[in-house]
Symmetry: C2
Subunit: 410 residues, 2 copies
C-alpha cells in the first residue's frame, strides 16, 4: 500500500513540501496538511490545484491541529493512516510530534532543531537536550526519524558526509556557508517570522574548533567568501543546528557555520537590538501600557509571505571542505545555487522556503522507496548521501562541486 | 514693590530658570514654580536649597497646574500676585498661558513656539499661526510678551540684531549653527522628551532663502562647519522657530538653521523612522494589542533627565553672518560655548537645558529692571540686544565674536 503523508505546518516551507509531494505523488498515497490555522492549509491546496501540481490523481485533505497536542496528533495520524509525518511547523512542536510518531509507528521528518520558547541558545550539543533523548525509543519501536532534513541543516550535512567518504582521506575543516544574494526590494524584512528569525541572532554563537565548543558573540567574526554565481559576499560566524550533529558524527576538528548578511541588515539589526527593541521582556509606556518591544517590531515589519512575488536573485549554500587526499592538500566547495523567481513561479514560495522544503519532501520520497527507511533516528550525515543528492538534482536542487578552476555538476 | 515670578514647567529647563532666578532674586519678589507633577517642582526647590542658590532670603512656593487650563492659571497668577510668568512647559501650553497673562496683566516669557499636538510642522511663518494673532491684544492691554527667549530661539535672535545694527551696512545671510559636541555616554538618547524631540525632525524643513520660504526634507542637506572650541562638525539644514520671526523682522535674504548631528545619531534616527517606529499612529500586534510605536521607543530610551550627571563636553551655538561694511565684504561668527559639566555642577542640569533656561531668566531680570518691559508682544530681535547680551555674560553665557583670525569677547 502506498504511504500516506501528513505535512504539519502552514507557512512558506509547508507550501513547498506540499507542492513537491504532489509533483511526486506516484510514490505516496493521500496527502494531508495540518496547521493551527486551517485556512493556510486550504490556501496551499488551492495553489497546488491552480498549478496542476499533482502527478497522479489523489486526495489532499486539510486539518486544524495544535502540534503541541500529542493526543490530537496521534488521532490525526491514526485516522488518516499516515505512514510519514513531515514536520515543518514552528520549532517548538518537534518533541510532541515526534512522540506522536513513536506511539503510532509513523516515520518522522523535520527541518530544524527543537526549541523551548522560553530559552534562547542552549548549551551544545543542542540535539542532546531534546531529540537524541528519544534515540533509544525510536530504535526499540523501529521508527524512522530523520532530523534536520532541510537545506541547512540537511543537504549541507549530506555534502559533508559525501566529502568525508569520497573526496578526502582526512578532513581538517568544514565551513558551511549560507548566502542569500536575493533582494526583496523592501527597506528591511526578515525571510521568515521575525520572532523566530531574531532568536537565532540574539544569543551566543557556538562553533566547533580544534574539537572543542567555542563561544562567540553574534556579528563578532566576519569573513568574506568568493562564491560561485553570487560573487564576493560578507558572512558572519553564526550558531546553527548542523554543527551539533556533524561534530559528533564526523571526525573533523573544525566545523563552522557562516551566514551571509549585508551591511544594511547588520546595521538595522544592531540598532534595534542595542536599543532593546528586540527584547522579549515587556516594557511599560508612559501611559502604563505593558508591551513586548519585539512584538511591536514584528507588527511594523513586512509580513514575510508578502515578499515572495517580488523576490529576485539567488541563494548560494554549500560546504567548503579542506583536508588531504593521496598525501596532497585538497579543497572543494560542494554547493547549490537556487533562484527566488524560479521558486516562486514553480511553487509560489521564495527561494529560502524552497531550499528548506524540497529536501524534506525528498527525504519522504526516500522513506517511501525504502532507501532511507532505516527504522532508527538519524541525522542526515548518518544516511547514504548519494541517493538524496541524486534525487535533489532531479527535483530542483542540483549539486555542484568547485575545485580549483573546475566547477561541475556532481 | 518687587515683582513676583511664576515659572511654569518641571523639567530640566525649569530647573535652570529657577536656579538663575534664585541666584538673582534681589531683582524679584517671591518665586513660584508650577507644573502638572508638583513633585518635580518640589525637587527643584530642594536643589535650590541644597546649593544655597538664593541671593537674598525669599519664599519659594510650588503648585500643581495644568497649563492648558486658562482659568486655573489666572487664579494662580492672581493668588500669587505674579508680575512675570516664565513659561518653560511643553510647547502645547503657550497660547493658554499667554491668554491668562493678557487677562491678568502679567508679563509673559517663553522659549519655544506654540505647537498643536495633532499637527507636525505647519506652514510658515509659524508665529503667524498662533502667537502673533494676539499681538494687538497685548498692545491694547499693555502686556509685555517676549516670545522665544531661550538660546535658539532667543540669544541667536539677539546676535542677529546686533550684527545688523553694529557690524554691517548690509547683511546677505545669517546661518544659525547649533552644535552639541557633548557626550552622554549612552548608545542613543534624546536630550529632551523623545516625543517632542522627534517631532522636530519628522516633518518638512523650512528655510528662508532668496527672501522666499524653501522646503526640504530632514537630513537632505548636510554641511560641515569649522567652529571655535568644538572644531569641525557636521550639521543638517533643520526647520526652527527663529527663522519664522527673523525673516519678517530683519531685512536679510538668506536665513538658515543648521543643527549638529553625528553620523551615529542620524543612522539610528533613520532606521527607526524608516521602519515606522517613530510613528504616532497606532499599530496592532499579532496578539491584537493596539500600540503607538513612538511611545514604545520612548519607553526603551533613557530618561533624558538621567543623562545630566554623566554629560561631558561642550555646546557651541552661534550666528555666522555675511554681508558688507564700509564697501567691503565682512563675515563674523557671534557665538557662545557652554560646558555640560559646569552647568550640572552649578544648577544640576546639562548644557542643553542650561543654554535654554539662563536666557529666559535674563529676560525676566530685564523686565524687572524695566529695560525690556516694553508693554507689547516682541520677538527678541525687536528688543535692544546689548543689555541682554551684557547680562548673559555676567550670569553664565558670555558672547564671543570671531572675525578672521581674531576671536574675542563681545
Amino acid at each position: 500500500m502506498k504511504k500516506n503523508v501528513l505535512i504539519i505546518g502552514g507557512g512558506g516551507v509547508a507550501q513547498v513540501v506540499a507542492h513537491k509531494c504532489a509533483q511526486n505523488n506516484d510514490l505516496f498515497g493521500n496527502i494531508h496538511i495540518a496547521s493551527r490555522t486551517v485556512a493556510k492549509c486550504d490556501a496551499i491546496v488551492e495553489s497546488i490545484k491552480s498549478k496542476g501540481a499533482l502527478k497522479i490523481p489523489a486526495e489532499i485533505a486539510t486539518h486544524s491541529l495544535d502540534g503541541t497536542d500529542v493526543e490530537a496528533t496521534k488521532s490525526l495520524i491514526r485516522a488518516g493512516e499516515i505512514a510519514i509525518v513531515i514536520n515543518v511547523g514552528a520549532p517548538f512542536i518537534n518533541m510532541s510530534v515526534l512522540q506522536a510518531c513513536i506511539e503510532t509507528g509513523a516515520a518522522y521528518i523535520d527541518t530544524a532543531i527543537h526549541e523551548d520558547p522560553l530559552k534562547i541558545c542552549e548549551t551544545p550539543p543542542w540535539y542532546g537536550n531534546y531529540e537524541w533523548q528519544r534515540r533509544e525509543l525510536c530504535k526499540e519501536a523501529g521508527i524512522t526519524a530523520i532530523l534536520g532534513a532541510g537545506f541547512d541543516p540537511g543537504v549541507v550535512n549530506a555534502y559533508a558526509k559525501l566529502a568525508v567518504d569520497d573526496y578526502f582521506d582526512r578532513v581538517d575543516s568544514i565551513d558551511i556557508i549560507d548566502v542569500n544574494a536575493g533582494s526583496h526590494g523592501r527597506y528591511f524584512a526578515t525571510n521568515f517570522d521575525p520572532e523566530t528569525n531574531f532568536r537565532e541572532f540574539t544569543g551566543r554563537v557556538w562553533s566547533w574548533q580544534n574539537r572543542e565548543w567555542t563561544k562567540n558573540k553574534m556579528f563578532e567574526i566576519r569573513r568574506e567568501w568568493d562564491l560561485p554565481v553570487v560573487g564576493v559576499r560578507p558572512t558572519y560566524l553564526t550558531g546553527h543546528d548542523e554543527i551539533h550533529s556533524l561534530s559528533r558524527n564526523l571526525d573533523v576538528p573544525d566545523i563552522r557555520f557562516w551566514m551571509g548578511f549585508g551591511d544594511h541588515y547588520v546595521n538595522v539589526f544592531t540598532v534595534l537590538n542595542t536599543l532593546g527593541l528586540l527584547s522579549e521582556q515587556p516594557v511599560k509606556t508612559a501611559e502604563g501600557l505593558e508591551v513586548v518591544p519585539l512584538k511591536v517590531v514584528k507588527a511594523i515589519l513586512p509580513d514575510p509571505s508578502s515578499l515572495a512575488p517580488d523576490y529576485e536573485g539567488k541563494t548560494c549554500i554549500g560546504d567548503l571542505v579542506k583536508g588531504e587526499k593521496d598525501g596532497k592538500p585538497r579543497e572543494v566547495f560542494i554547493y547549490n545555487v537556487a533562484d527566488h523567481k524560479e521558486a516562486y513561479e514553480e511553487v509560489g514560495s521564495q527561494g529560502i522556503s524552497y531550499t528548506a522544503g524540497v529536501p524534506a519532501a525528498a527525504a519522504a520520497m526516500l522513506i517511501a522507496t525504502g532507501e532511507w527507511d532505516v527504522k532508527v533516528m538519524a541525522n542526515v550525515e548518518e544516511l547514504p548521501p548519494r541517493p538524496f543528492l541524486d534525487l535533489l538534482g532531479r527535483i530542483g536542487l542540483p549539486t555542484r562541486v568547485r575545485e580549483g578552476d573546475v566547477d561541475q555538476a556532481l
